[in-house]
Symmetry: C4
Subunit: 262 residues, 4 copies
């Protein structure tokens, strides 16, 4: 079932490339927001393999679930890319004709997936993905940490703004994949519709960077959060429960029964 949803969601992820940059960031952010709203009840809003993996490492998700989720996410991204391709079929043909050039001045594979500019080294690309996904994971932990007392209906809204913010900050290098599924699946689709193997071999087999770097970044960031920030917040769950009448530090009380992500 989650697969079905995921397919639909990932649809949006590959057809914003002709818009202006600010639009992409905001549009993508809103898209993520509604996707999280949609599947927050069925799968917990997992759309990103790196984030799913992170939840496993902090013990919030069984390993088997991680595998199911990742498969669904990649399949969903693939089907979504295909659907988006059909909607813009005429438009693409009108602009590109039958040319399928991966990179260079006339390259168009970046319509589907991230394609680093030649002057960008793979080391920096890895670092960029590591840090970008790290921020995503870090702030995701902040949002869902129940001690920060953000109401659950604000979570999806904040996730959307978060993705828009990361796009604004990090997009210049690679167009912020920060999601292995979102980068890999459209790359496979692009290879199938005529771009060929070069989408993988391009830039010294760059394609594995947006797959691995986000995972490392997300895990490192999540652990940083729990070590540096998490231990600093006085959480006192028992007192908290008891004391909600006299709450001394300004929480908009959602009363004791609120159980959040954590």
């Amino acid at each position: 079932m989650f697969l079905g949803i995921s397919i639909v969601h990932q649809f949006d992820l590959s057809h914003k490339q002709l818009n202006t940059w600010i639009q992409i960031n905001l549009g993508w952010g809103f898209t993520i927001m509604f996707c999280v709203y949609t599947c927050s009840k069925t799968s917990g809003g997992h759309l990103n393999p790196a984030i799913s993996l992170m939840f496993y490492t902090i013990g919030k998700l069984p390993l088997a679930h991680v595998f199911y989720y990742i498969i669904a996410q990649v399949l969903g991204a693939f089907v979504g890319t295909a659907l988006a391709y059909t909607v813009y079929l005429d438009q693409t043909y009108h602009v590109l004709g039958n040319a399928r050039i991966v990179a260079g001045p006339n390259g168009t594979a970046s319509l589907f997936t991230s394609m680093p500019a030649p002057h960008l080294s793979n080391t920096i690309a890895f670092w960029d993905q590591f840090v970008g996904t790290g921020f995503l994971a870090l702030f995701a932990c902040v949002i869902i940490d129940k001690r920060n007392e953000i109401p659950s209906y604000m979570h999806a809204l904040l996730f959307g703004l978060l993705v828009a913010m990361i796009g604004m900050a990090f997009g210049m290098n690679l167009g912020y994949p920060i999601n292995p599924a979102r980068d890999f699946a459209p790359r496979v689709f692009a290879a199938l519709i005529g771009y060929g193997w070069e989408v993988f071999s391009y830039h010294n087999y760059y394609f594995w960077i947006p797959i691995l770097a986000p995972c490392f970044g997300a895990i490192a960031a999540a652990w940083s959060y729990f070590i540096f920030v998490g231990f600093q917040i006085p959480d006192q769950p028992p007192n908290y429960m008891k004391e909600n009448k006299s709450d001394a530090d300004g929480i908009p009380l959602k009363t004791t029964y609120v159980r959040d992500l954590a």
Copy 2:
């Protein structure tokens, strides 16, 4: 009475075409937001015939109401277009003079209604409208599903962001009508002020596509939601009813069963 409101609301819908694209999307989104806030108490925020029809198919709206709503929506869109035309009367005359050319390099009928580019086939146009309105209906179901526990005062805000998001994602082909009333009524108005019958016959009688496709798309999406997502959420209706006896129509009550993303 609803007619009166509707007229006022639809006013905004036809005079943003000279602005930049990002502005259109955000502006339209905010407009929808305030319209839904305004009439959420009288008609339930129904501004779109496709969405009204969808609510009928899922049994939330009597058929008679659907007809009344659609008539009001089309009339409202027509009067609103006329009002907007008067506000920009001088500006339009200054730019266009007396020329009323439907399409082509100097065509201006797209100021009023959607006009597909020649390279776009009607099949793709139908598909575009089907999918675009489908997402609108899908996320609308998400927003109003009481099991997602989104407070009612957030609904209109989210509807606005939703429309802006769809515009950012799908606007490139047709300018996202996704609303039969919004597309058809201004088209009639354009025909009356001098564009003539060609606004209907243009592009092989394209005009019926943004009328029918949104209806099919909305219904398909709503059913998808209820089949794939709706059945997956544990909703416990009996307990729910008991605990909040007076709640008969879908408020996201924050009650004890609040379980979040996890």
Copy 3:
């Protein structure tokens, strides 16, 4: 005291003209939002003479208060314009030198106040202001109507988005003054710093239009709202009063009769 606040607030209102249009709309919206947050407790967020007058006509504000508010609003706008002028003193000198030309290709008076283009008739200008301020007043009524149950902490946020939305929709003709104080006070300031009497006589004494039209528009819209929408909402004031005795200031309390979109 309100005067002091008002001065500070209106500061922002005259120095955004060199930015891009989308920025102006969003920036202005956010500015209004924070201004309303600031003075919502002292004066009820009154920053606009037209809106204050409207509240008088629906019996929510004594006539004497209206006069005090309007005087404070005009004085505040004047001092604010002067402050903004000092902050951008060097920048303005760098761009303009000593030239102070009211209108035409090199005219710069529109940095301070609204200056209609020559092809725009005063009739349309009046209508534009009437309708624009009308929408502002209409949606303001929607936001503060306690029966719409919008939490009071959302009000200022929505007012900000509302102003941004009106700017996006109506800004093309005149730059949306929609506020007599905001238009008149900077005009006086512009006259004093060297633009002279022409800022008043320009365009056949256009200057009175953004003073009178918003007042008529706001009053007409507010009455429309209460006649067409207000009477349609089941409000049950007696129960409401009883259930929330302490609510004396229009906070939309979420009580049991919350009925939603569905």
Copy 4:
């Protein structure tokens, strides 16, 4: 610990300069928003020395804390700048080569810190910073003033919009430093990577202006708020407290115990 967080946060602060202006404002605003969310529990969201100093003057923060915070903020901004520099290392090299010119037509030091244009006098620069940070502090007081009843989970969101708004209004002169740590630390970093002493001596030792002016501005604004607005709001804690008892349905309770950021 706070140091660690601060480092991460300030990361974002120096690499948005190649984007468009609207994007910078929104991106920065969102960044601030998530930073405040992150550290609101550990340090109360203090990211700005001027604001920390302001809280000392109104008796909400011990002097020793102010010193610790300022040291952490400056160190954090320095490390953050260094991290951002590494992420965009290739990109920077690609655009700039090895040139490190502080100012003039080819100057690039403004990528790191604020560099006033030659036609801007230091007096106006001081005034601009004084007023800009003053608004930041003023509205910060509004947001955290418990009598305005803004739920604490909205605070960070509003701070973000506030920074975006100030950027839209005041950014034209200097790019709105409004934060001594954010301006000084990247300036030191820029000096170390090859720009040299000139980043300090430039424009008649301008560098101390964005350090001192924000502090004076923040203090003046905060005191203005408490004198002119603060005394006007009826706060009546006892009655309010008593009346709120019956709230059983999760409204973010507006009660007197709301103590926030301060």
